[in-house]
Symmetry: C2
Subunit: 293 residues, 2 copies
């Protein structure tokens, strides 16, 4: 439940001028407004599951988008039942001036979205309701290698197109040129994983493999609440930290604290003992992930 | 739409240990938590209408009440369609451990609730959707008059029961005694009126007659926005102040400001010029109304 200064589940990812929202609990649109990033560039909302604390802010956000005269379609991703549940909620958000495109997730199909260098996957979790973790990966093409280009006598005017697009394939004066002729091996990209609500799942560390940022639930910090966390199909900070360690993540943000825990930071050591680069999340906590030099 | 520091439409009235909520926009449960009055004593939620900004916080509030292990039934009042719309919203608040009792308002029946000295009425308004204003009146019995009781030879042991209950009717030693034998004329009670969203309605001043506090919408303060207010089926501060003056209200609180008006207080003079005791509302603004001495 929302607390003063702690709204419900939501995460927004801004990449190349577009925004993807993950979950939309009550108060999400207030936080979005405080960020000042606008609503216009949100073209996708992904739901982990349909418990109220993860979706209750949707009708209000849709109405605000409608008020801003959005006409572009909005993609919605989520477990089976998405269209039906959003349909019910839209009883108070009717006649939207934009289309909702529903994409119900199939537990056997990890890839949910691909576009140029962006790739999104989903992984079924283990909660009281069907639930998915999401990953956003920004791929990065190899470095342009002028030595190789010169050695292969690639015409100078093709250097630009070949290096800008990873899978460029150009026919020029009856000869075929591809980007792999001028680019080195793909470089490390960026990866963000959002994982809530769930018990630990065997496939999670692989799903979050090498994530630059893993945002993961931890209902309780106190290890003595382990049984209670399990009974509610949630995790403790220690369990989340173990997943981050196994996944070789770079950084872990804990989120989705119990309303009975107003001071999650006081339990952070239970996570850092296992995975040092752990932080307790708070509203509008932001981080810019950058490609390595 | 909700703004940082300005949640959506809601008003709570606490009387004799019970609480009645009017409207439940997004964020209402956060404000309730900040007030610290608890959720337990809310036994009634009255909706003016079903636009998102007046009801979007309901599923979350119901879930929070369920979390607090409420089992007592909850009364809901609102325009026709209430049961259907709440039913849709409850797709994310299923298996509540308490019953919802739906009372759909009939525009021809002003009295909606009576209990002991409490009386609630509703008045149809004029908005884009069927909409009602609500009044809560706390009646006050007349003063006990020992001179009259003595003059009529009323047995001393009946003085207490007759003065405690307004309509007491007691047979004692074959003689009938009623409270009007010992009580003076009913004294002025308390009256609170909540009126949003609407254009001015001819019946409003009578409905709000002598209200101790009239909470009334004013989408815009700037009189130049008069046409825009009317086009959206809302009012300006001046229109609300005219209603307060005609109603002979004691105090007017303006509410339901446009998100394009972050500083409603800068337009307050347009209301006070007509009705001096006007204030612009803000989140968690509270007032204790007391019987006159």
């Amino acid at each position: 439940m929302p607390l003063p200064g702690r709204f419900l589940s939501s995460m927004i990812c801004r990449v190349n001028g577009r925004m993807m929202l993950f979950d939309c609990g009550e108060g999400t649109q207030v936080s979005l407004r405080m960020l000042g990033w606008g609503f216009k560039q949100i073209d996708m909302i992904c739901f982990t599951h349909f418990h109220g604390d993860h979706i209750s802010g949707l009708p209000g956000l849709l109405l605000t988008m409608a008020n801003a005269e959005r006409t572009e379609p909005l993609m919605l991703f989520g477990p089976a039942g998405l269209a039906k549940i959003v349909g019910h909620l839209c009883v108070i958000a009717q006649d939207l001036p934009f289309k909702l495109e529903f994409h119900e997730l199939n537990p056997r199909t990890p890839h949910i979205y691909n576009e140029d260098m962006l790739r999104m996957d989903a992984l079924p979790l283990n909660h009281r309701a069907p639930c998915f973790a999401y990953s956003v990966a920004l791929l990065r093409r190899g470095k342009f290698d002028p030595e190789r280009a010169r050695a292969q006598n690639i015409p100078l005017q093709l250097w630009g197109p070949l290096q800008r697009q990873n899978d460029a394939d150009i026919v020029y004066e009856n000869k075929r040129y591809t980007s792999d002729m001028v680019l080195g091996a793909p470089r490390k990209g960026l990866k963000l994983v959002f994982c809530t609500d769930t018990r630990p799942v065997a496939a999670l560390p692989d799903f979050a493999r090498d994530a630059d940022l893993l945002i993961c639930e931890g209902l309780y910090g106190d290890p003595e609440k382990q049984q209670k966390a399990a009974a509610h199909m949630h995790m403790t900070f220690r369990e989340a930290a173990k997943i981050a360690r196994k996944a070789n993540a770079r950084e872990l943000w804990l989120t989705h604290f119990s309303p009975a825990v107003p001071d999650p930071w006081n339990y952070l050591s239970h996570a850092t003992a296992i995975f040092p680069n752990s932080l307790t999340g708070k509203d509008r906590m932001t981080k810019t992930l950058k490609f390595e030099e």
